[in-house]
């Protein structure tokens, strides 16, 4: 919110008054008060949207990995942070429509509005506010990015992982229009659906046999493009039993819409038996 001082009006530094009474006077203006009321009311309306967003997000089954949880938190926080800005803008908008009012006339209205050229306080205040907001978002984002990069082993292949968290390597091949998964440590057995043990780190090498696909494990919040001629990496640790979706998130031709499969998160025992019936035996 801005304070009405005229910037281009010269004020001699000697008897410059402290602007508290200007502040008081400003807050005493009726329109300022009404706008503040609208602003607060709007906040009360808008802030619950944060929960609504999370609700919609969880319609797809809710987070099944630490990464997805991080993402949910981020979305929630961002919504909360940007709510006041939204409310402030909307408050001015609403008051301009209904408070200061509209003129209905066929010809240009001649009564003129106050000639406010600029306002140092408003400009400086706004720039500071938005910059602080942006700074917060950037810092939060960078920290989150570092976290999920760590969670998804994005930077370190399994060979360099400490043994405790040594992830299972899985090679993901995208091809028009099916995914195939290969378990190099388990006699290179192959499968068309992804079966993974719970609470075990997984490390994916993703590539494509033809065009660009995008390997999206929805409920795990993991997505990486499958590029022809290059190997990209991602990973996650599933922390929820069940069956979740894998979709292709990059247009890849005719059956792009049908290029999807399942990820089954099972217990270690079930995983071992599955490996065995696929004709491999659990190593390491």
């Amino acid at each position: 919110m801005s304070i009405e001082t005229q910037a281009d009006q010269p004020e001699s530094p000697t008897n410059r008054p402290d602007s508290t009474h200007r502040m008081k006077e400003w807050f005493s203006r009726p329109y300022v008060r009404r706008i503040l009321i609208i602003f607060i009311a709007l906040n009360i309306i808008i802030i619950p949207i944060a929960w609504l967003v999370i609700h919609f997000l969880e319609l797809s089954g809710g987070p099944a990995s630490s990464i997805m949880e991080e993402i949910e938190t981020t979305i929630f926080v961002f919504t909360l942070v940007s709510a006041p800005l939204m409310a402030a803008t909307a408050a001015v908008l609403i008051y301009s429509l209904f408070g200061w009012g509209l003129i209905k006339s066929e010809e240009p209205p001649m009564q003129e509005s106050p000639a406010i050229r600029t306002n140092a306080v408003a400009v400086v205040g706004w720039i500071t506010a938005t910059s602080l907001l942006a700074a917060f978002l950037v810092i939060w984002g960078l920290v989150e990015l570092a976290t999920i990069t760590a969670d998804s082993y994005g930077s370190t292949p399994s060979s360099q992982q400490p043994n405790a968290t040594k992830p299972i390597d899985i090679n993901v091949t995208g091809q028009q229009w099916v995914w195939t998964f290969e378990y190099p440590d388990q006699q290179r057995i192959q499968s068309d659906i992804l079966v993974v043990p719970i609470n075990t780190p997984l490390y994916f090498n993703v590539t494509s046999k033809d065009v660009i696909h995008s390997f999206w494990v929805v409920e795990m919040g993991v997505k990486i493009d499958a590029n022809p001629g290059a190997v990209t990496n991602t990973g996650f640790t599933a922390n929820k039993l069940g069956t979740f979706n894998i979709r292709c998130a990059e247009l890849c031709g005719m059956h792009h819409a049908y290029m999807e499969t399942k990820v089954q998160v099972v217990t270690q025992a079930q995983f071992d038996s599955w490996i065995r019936e696929q004709g491999g035996k659990r190593t390491a």
Binding site: E106, T173, D210, Y258
Partner: protein, 262 residues
């Protein structure tokens, strides 16, 4: 030497102008007429959209649905199920007496002599039953990119009878096409994945009367679950364009289609 007089340079001294414009206040003349016109133009737009949708649905040029014939019951690992059979053929190219799919893009691709499944690519299978598919394959081989598709997946006991011999996989170099049913993005229907590599005819196979070589015969069975919609396509690069997945590989009615389990 001709010459012209151009507009002279004139100097105006003009400040910010506040001109008051007086305009006659207008009444809404012919309001009803304009309203009717408005509705008319909206209706015309809707008509255009609806018409083109109807037209394009007709242009899909998908062959008529081929229904599996149900005949008696069969003993399966899941007990006695109705037994349905389906006969398909794969031709290397269209000929005069075997035109293959026509209309739409097909007339255009005909010039290129491309392989196609026959008689149809949109299949309808009975639910909860054993489906036995017999494929006569007349085409020669193109090496499959992904060896995974040289293996048999999702059939009963995981085998396919190649000319009567049951195998679980064939040499990737011998694959002519594959018949790969995969998921339709519906979480409410059972997951369904069948992939069968089709054996290629030898290069020195002598051709029969119909101009095609002697076919390889594949016979395989799988068990369908609850009703649902699926798609299938060939995973062996037999088209053209980049990595041979263009052209015929990306055409419904040639190397891909729909599977409807009812």
């Amino acid at each position: 030497m001709n010459s012209v007089h151009l507009l002279p340079e004139i100097t105006i001294v003009s400040g910010g102008i506040h001109c008051r414009v007086v305009m006659r206040s207008t009444k809404w003349r012919g309001g009803v007429k304009r309203l009717l016109f408005t509705i008319a133009i909206v209706l015309v737009g809707a008509g255009i959209v609806a018409g083109s949708v109807w037209f394009l649905m007709g242009q899909q040029a998908e062959p008529a649905t081929l229904r599996a014939k149900v005949s008696g019951t069969a003993v399966t690992p899941q007990g006695n199920l109705p037994h349905a059979t389906l006969d398909l053929s794969i031709y290397p190219n269209s000929t005069a007496n075997n035109p293959g799919p026509t209309g739409g893009m097909y007339d255009f691709v005909d010039k290129l002599g491309w392989p196609f499944y026959s008689p149809s690519t949109s299949l309808q299978l009975p639910a909860h039953s054993l489906v036995t598919v017999t494929v006569r394959q007349y085409d020669s081989s193109t090496t499959v990119w992904n060896p995974y598709f040289a293996k048999v997946h999702g059939t009963v006991d995981g085998t396919v009878k190649y000319n009567g011999v049951a195998k679980t996989q064939i040499d990737p170099a011998d694959v002519a096409h594959t018949f790969t049913i995969h998921q339709y993005p519906q979480s409410t229907q059972p997951y369904f994945f069948v992939s069968v590599p089709m054996l290629a005819v030898g290069n020195n196979a002598k051709s029969l009367a119909n101009g095609y070589p002697k076919p390889e015969v594949m016979e395989f069975s799988f068990i369908t679950g609850a009703p649902g919609n699926y798609v299938w396509n060939c995973e062996d690069p037999c088209g053209n364009g980049y990595v041979d997945f263009g052209g015929v590989m990306s055409e419904r009615g040639m190397m891909s289609g729909k599977v409807k389990v009812v």
